[in-house]
């Protein structure tokens, strides 16, 4: 029945949007890190995993309400990011991409093994509050309450990020530092501090994304490795010079992935990889990026 098809298409579309928003929150920290510090941090997913596991532990073992865990996850992982930036990452900004890749792979391996040791290798399940479980009927289309929550929350986050980037002084300093760090520091902008704050913030967002995503994406020790390529696709397709680029890329990716897995179950997974390669071949700087001075 065509009506059924339309409804399931809408459901898929909505699911894809939710998935995409989630990817956006997860990946935008990586986009900024890459654009700002020119640093390839393949361990970005490990921060997301940290947020996810932290939330699982807090809700499961200590009964802290899910909604309260979200800001806790953000802050805690942001702090973790700040510490690591100061202690380790800072020394690697000037090294080549190969070194950075090797380093971040090393961090991922350590994180994956450590989490496996501490929490076991099974999937973790999140205790969601009652009002987020179940479905809501909107114009005959069944929408998951949790997915709706994610879409709304992530949209608000995206708007907030856009406002910070475009409307605040910090945002303009950040954009200046991204465009040309040397000139920016020549203008008196404390590039070091911006790097630290941005890295921490990006990691915090990843942690928040991990907490939000545990229910939809699944959470186990291999999370950083599984989703590494997705973050990279978002960043390579969306570019690193804006908020809207990665947002659009994430939405496209989310919808394509969900639709692909539904309509062509066998091919769904690697359509994404092919799209990424195609984009990189045609426009190495990303579909939505404006040219930068680098």
């Amino acid at each position: 029945m065509p009506e059924q098809r339309a409804i399931s298409m809408l459901t898929i579309l909505f699911d894809g949007i939710a998935y995409g928003m989630l990817l956006f929150v997860l990946a935008c920290g990586l986009a900024v890190t890459l654009g700002l510090m020119n640093f390839v941090n393949l361990a970005h997913g490990a921060f997301a995993m940290a947020g996810g596991y932290l939330t699982v532990i807090l809700t499961g073992r200590y009964g802290i309400p899910f909604l309260m865990c979200l800001p806790i996850a953000f802050v805690a992982v942001a702090l973790l990011g700040a510490v690591l930036e100061r202690a380790l990452y800072r020394r690697l900004y000037l090294k080549g991409h190969l070194e950075q890749v090797l380093f971040s792979i090393g961090i991922v391996f350590m994180a994956v093994a450590a989490v496996d040791y501490a929490m076991g290798s099974q999937q973790q399940f999140m205790q969601l509050p009652e009002f987020l479980r179940g479905r809501i009927e909107v114009a005959g289309v069944g929408i998951g309450a949790y997915r709706l929550f994610i879409v709304v929350l992530c949209a608000l986050l995206a708007l907030a990020l856009q406002w910070v980037l475009v409307g605040t002084r910090f945002g303009s300093r950040l954009r200046a530092a991204v465009d040309d760090p040397r000139v920016a520091s020549g203008l008196g902008i404390n590039v070091d501090r911006i790097f630290l704050v941005t890295f921490a913030f990006g990691s915090g967002l990843a942690g928040l994304g991990g907490a939000l995503g545990a229910e939809i994406l699944g959470l186990d020790p291999t999370f950083p490795l599984k989703f590494m390529i997705y973050f990279l696709v978002v960043v390579s397709v969306g570019g690193t010079t804006s908020v809207t680029g990665p947002l659009l890329a994430s939405l496209l990716l989310g919808i394509a992935d969900v639709a692909g897995k539904y309509y062509i179950p066998n091919a769904g997974a690697f359509i994404i990889y092919c799209v990424m390669i195609a984009v990189l071949m045609i426009r190495p700087q990303g579909l939505f990026a404006r040219g930068s001075s680098r």
């Binding site: 080549g96 090393g106 350590m110």
Partner: protein
């Protein structure tokens, strides 16, 4: 035209430099005696030695691409795994002769390398990282999906090889396997050695150091890079084939990301750009793996990660060629003294 008195002296000096660069050192000969000596000294460790030989060949192929041509690849396992599956499938369905299967796997991997080299030529290092990673993930997914062909997650079992050259059975001790892998490794090494000392190899190093200037000197960039990538793909495919043939088994693991990461680590440990780095690194890595796995089998990944982090923080050069550290320190002392 009067030939200045030292003109022929300079020609001789130039010729001598080149001869010096290509001559086999005593140290090299000694190095190649070690794997043979191992046969006598470690007769019960053939499996481990075989692993080292295969990993060494894999790392050697990456050295050509990364150390000599400067192509950063995060998906070298794609070529390794393609060769492994190629050899396994050929043995299982067509003919189980090892050398024939090796040839088929080499051809298949080279073809894959040739086709994907197009994607590796363009863009920055970062683009190449992502593209090579993407290729290996695509291949992994394809192998995963084609369960009827590859055995999916369970892998392709029951690959039984005919005797090598009709005479040497693949025995349980692994001796035939090891010597087979060693011979293939040595042959590949000889080819690689020839290539890097030839004009082609020189042009690769120029491409690595300064692609713009290399093309301004007349080097056809894309042809040369495609050629070396294809050659390296053939070698990586050979390594994969050896694995499948000597273990009688091929699974998705041969295409997994951790294999690409591990071969990078191996090359970094041993040092890229002088051909022996991959071999030395392979030996060290396999021995480490053996020791650490005996102690903490599941958490081997943690230790690799730690080693990677430490290597990068301390610095590849200093760790791998400590004499460069000493030389740099001496140079710094000299400049300090002349001030």
């Amino acid at each position: 035209m009067i030939t200045p008195p030292n003109h022929s002296a300079i020609i001789e000096a130039v010729a001598a430099s080149f001869t010096h660069a290509t001559r086999w050192r005593a140290l090299e000969a000694a190095f190649w005696l070690l794997p043979l000596a191992a046969v006598l000294v470690f007769p019960r460790h053939y499996l481990l030695l075989n692993e080292i030989a295969i990993l060494g060949l894999f790392a050697l192929s990456l050295d050509l691409v990364l150390g000599y041509a400067g192509i950063v690849s995060l998906g070298h396992a794609a070529l390794f795994g393609f060769g492994a599956y190629g050899a396994a499938l050929f043995a299982k369905h067509i003919h189980a002769d090892p050398l024939l299967g090796l040839a088929v796997a080499i051809a298949a991997a080279a073809a894959l390398g040739l086709v994907t080299s197009v994607l590796v030529l363009r863009g920055s290092d970062l683009t190449r990282l992502m593209v090579t990673l993407g290729i290996s993930l695509i291949l992994y997914e394809i192998a995963n999906q084609l369960r009827w062909l590859t055995g999916g997650a369970d892998g392709l079992q029951g690959v039984v090889m005919k005797p090598l050259l009709g005479a040497f059975e693949f025995d349980l001790s692994g001796r035939t396997a090891y010597l087979y892998s060693l011979v293939v490794l040595f042959a590949s090494f000889l080819v690689a050695r020839r290539v890097v000392h030839a004009p082609f190899g020189l042009s690769l190093q120029a491409l690595r150091d300064n692609r713009l200037r290399a093309s301004a000197v007349g080097v056809p960039v894309n042809f040369r890079l495609t050629a070396i990538y294809t050659l390296a793909a053939a070698m990586a495919g050979a390594a994969g084939a050896l694995l499948a043939q000597t273990t009688g088994f091929a699974s998705l693991d041969v295409l997994a990301f951790h294999r690409s990461a591990e071969v990078l680590l191996v090359l970094v440990i041993g040092g890229a750009g002088y051909l022996y780095g991959g071999l030395i690194g392979a030996a060290l890595f396999a021995l480490m793996h053996d020791r650490i796995s005996a102690l903490t089998p599941q958490y081997w990944q943690f230790w690799i990660g730690l080693i990677l982090v430490l290597i990068v923080l301390i610095g590849r050069e200093r760790l791998v060629r400590p004499w460069t550290w000493i030389a740099a320190a001496r140079a710094a002392q000299r400049t300090a003294r002349t001030r």
